[in-house]
Structure formats: structure tokens, C-alpha cells
């Protein structure tokens, strides 16, 4: 045990000290900013975009510093990024449904079909 662990402990001494407390402070400040911003009217899309942008920024700080991705070898970084490409694909795959209104609230057939006339309409 000690052999392999010494090996990887030594490997970690190589990178410069991680500014944990500065990252923690930044995360706290941006949490306060995002809470404060939610009480300011920025338009329907404005609030959503700002909240998600701050969340993405905070998430990248956690990944880069707390999860050490900034200091990791390239294969680990690539593995960590792979699902985000898939998430982008997933969200793009959802766009057609959102945009052509298939699940839109005006589509009463979608809302009422299960209760009123289950299969006869088709």
C-alpha cells in the first residue's frame, strides 16, 4: 500500500499549492450574486441565462481546483470533458421538440388526451 501511495503522493507535490481558500471565497461571493440577481427583473431569458452562466462558472471552478483538473494529466481531462460533449448533444436533440411546440401548453391534445380519449383519436 505505502509503495503505490507514496508514488502518487509524490506525483502530487509537483503542482503548485492550490488556492483552496480563494476558490472557496469566490464560490461564496458568486452564490450571493446569483441569489441577489434572482430578485432583480432582467427579463424572462435574462434571469435564466445569468443564473446558468454563474452556475457554469462556479462548476468550472470546482472542477478545475477542488477536483484538480487544472493539474491533471491530459487523459483525465479528456475523460472529464467527454460527458459534457454528450450533454451538449442531448440538449441539441431536445431543441426540435421544444421549438416545434410538440410539448407546448397550447397543444391541448397533449394535455387532455390521456384522460379524455386515450386511443380513439389515433
Amino acid at each position: 500500500m505505502s509503495d503505490s501511495h507514496d508514488g502518487h503522493a509524490a506525483e502530487h507535490v509537483e503542482h503548485p499549492p492550490v488556492p483552496y481558500f480563494a476558490i472557496f471565497g469566490t464560490l461564496c461571493v458568486f452564490t450571493l450574486i446569483t441569489i441577489g440577481a434572482s430578485f432583480v427583473e432582467l427579463g424572462k431569458a435574462g434571469n435564466v441565462v445569468l443564473a446558468l452562466a454563474i452556475a457554469a462558472f462556479k462548476a468550472s471552478l470546482v472542477m478545475l481546483f477542488f477536483m484538480h483538473l487544472k493539474y491533471e494529466k491530459r487523459p483525465i481531462v479528456l475523460i472529464a470533458l467527454a460527458p459534457f460533449i454528450l450533454v451538449a448533444v442531448l440538449i441539441m436533440a431536445l431543441f426540435p421538440d421544444i421549438l416545434n411546440g410538440q410539448y407546448h401548453s397550447d397543444d391541448h391534445e397533449f394535455k387532455e388526451a390521456p384522460a379524455a380519449e386515450p386511443h380513439e383519436a389515433k
Partner: protein
């Protein structure tokens, strides 16, 4: 577990799949990749249905946004526990065992407090009849927060295990693995908090 690995290393039975990274850590990253897809599936459904049926989400948003205090405190708790976990990993690598154990205990305590406060929040929701069947928003609220809560619980238990075993063994590698998981759980909350409480 690790003992056997170290001894077999000379016989070429144990080979790290990735040069310079122990296999447990690589496995944890791969597991976290699958977790990202798991949560993004749920969040994608939330996004699609919220855009399609905005009227089903107005009441829920107003209710949760109106009493944000507890959730904000919970957010601060998780960020703080991420800090103590990161410091525990560092202490483990420096062989500062007593410091590592103290930080692990602090992390587990904050995780437990998060769950207690979550239960308080659930209690008031149940009191007001805001169950999953209330509307689409609360169906997502319960699903997402409960699954996240189970993840917290699934983190607190191994962290307590680390605290226990660190007394007699070097668990710095295991600590780093669990640390990655714990930061991921924090990361999920970083997205859930604005999605459910703020926007």
C-alpha cells in the same frame, strides 16, 4: 485491497491503466461521467417540460423563491464541505493524519446537517400538501432533490469510513477518490439550486 496491489506490482499483475494515475481514481472519473449523463437526463426533461408548460412551474417557483433562506444556507454548507474535503485530501497526501481525520469529520458533519435541513424543508412541503402529484414543478422538485439527497448520504457514509480507517491505515488514495465524488455532489447542487429555487 491496496496492499495486494502494491505487492503484485513487481510481478506485473497490477498495472495502472493510465500512467501516473492509480486505477481507483480513473474508475471514479469514469463513474462520475455516467453520473453527469444521469443528472443531465433529468435536467433535460425538466428544461423541456418547463419551456413547454411554463404555467405549471409558476406556483412552484414563487413558493421556493419566496423562502430561499434554508436552501441558500444549504448551498453554503455544501461549498464549505467541498473545501474541507479538498483540504482533507491534501492533509492525507502530506500524511497529516489527525488533521485529515478532523477535516473528514467536519465534511461528514456538514453533509449530515444538509440532510437534516433538507428533511425540515421536506416537512414543510408535506405540511402544505406540496407533494409530487401537486404539479409538474413539485414532481421534479422531489425527484431531483431526493436523488441528490441520496447522493449526499452515499457520500457521508464512506467519508465516515475514511475517518475510521485513517486511524490505522494510509487512506490518502481512497480519500482522493471519495473527494472527487463529494465535489461532484456539490457540483450537482450548484446547478440544482438555481434551477429549482432561483429561476
Amino acid at each position: 485491497m491496496s496492499d495486494a496491489h502494491a505487492h503484485n506490482f513487481d510481478n506485473d499483475v497490477y498495472e495502472p491503466a493510465l500512467e501516473g494515475t492509480f486505477n481507483g481514481k480513473l474508475a471514479m472519473w469514469l463513474f462520475l461521467c455516467s453520473e453527469v449523463m444521469f443528472f443531465s437526463g433529468l435536467m433535460g426533461a425538466y428544461m423541456t417540460l418547463r419551456i413547454g408548460h411554463p404555467e405549471n412551474f409558476v406556483f412552484g417557483h414563487d413558493t421556493l423563491h419566496g423562502s430561499i433562506g434554508l436552501a441558500a444556507f444549504n448551498t453554503a454548507l455544501l461549498i464549505s464541505s467541498s473545501l474541507t474535503m479538498a483540504l482533507a485530501v491534501l492533509a492525507g497526501q502530506k500524511k497529516e493524519t489527525s488533521k485529515q481525520r478532523m477535516l473528514l469529520l467536519a465534511t461528514a458533519a456538514m453533509g449530515t446537517l444538509f440532510l437534516i435541513l433538507k428533511s425540515v424543508e421536506y416537512g414543510t412541503k408535506i405540511e402544505h400538501g406540496l407533494l409530487p402529484r401537486h404539479d409538474l414543478f413539485f414532481a421534479f422538485y422531489w425527484t431531483l432533490t431526493a436523488i441528490h439527497g441520496i447522493h449526499i448520504l452515499a457520500g457521508v457514509i464512506p467519508i465516515m469510513g475514511l475517518w475510521w480507517f485513517a486511524k490505522t491505515k494510509d487512506v490518502s488514495g481512497e480519500c482522493e477518490m471519495i473527494g472527487l465524488y463529494w465535489h461532484f455532489v456539490d457540483l450537482v447542487w450548484i446547478f440544482l439550486f438555481p434551477l429549482l429555487y432561483l429561476i
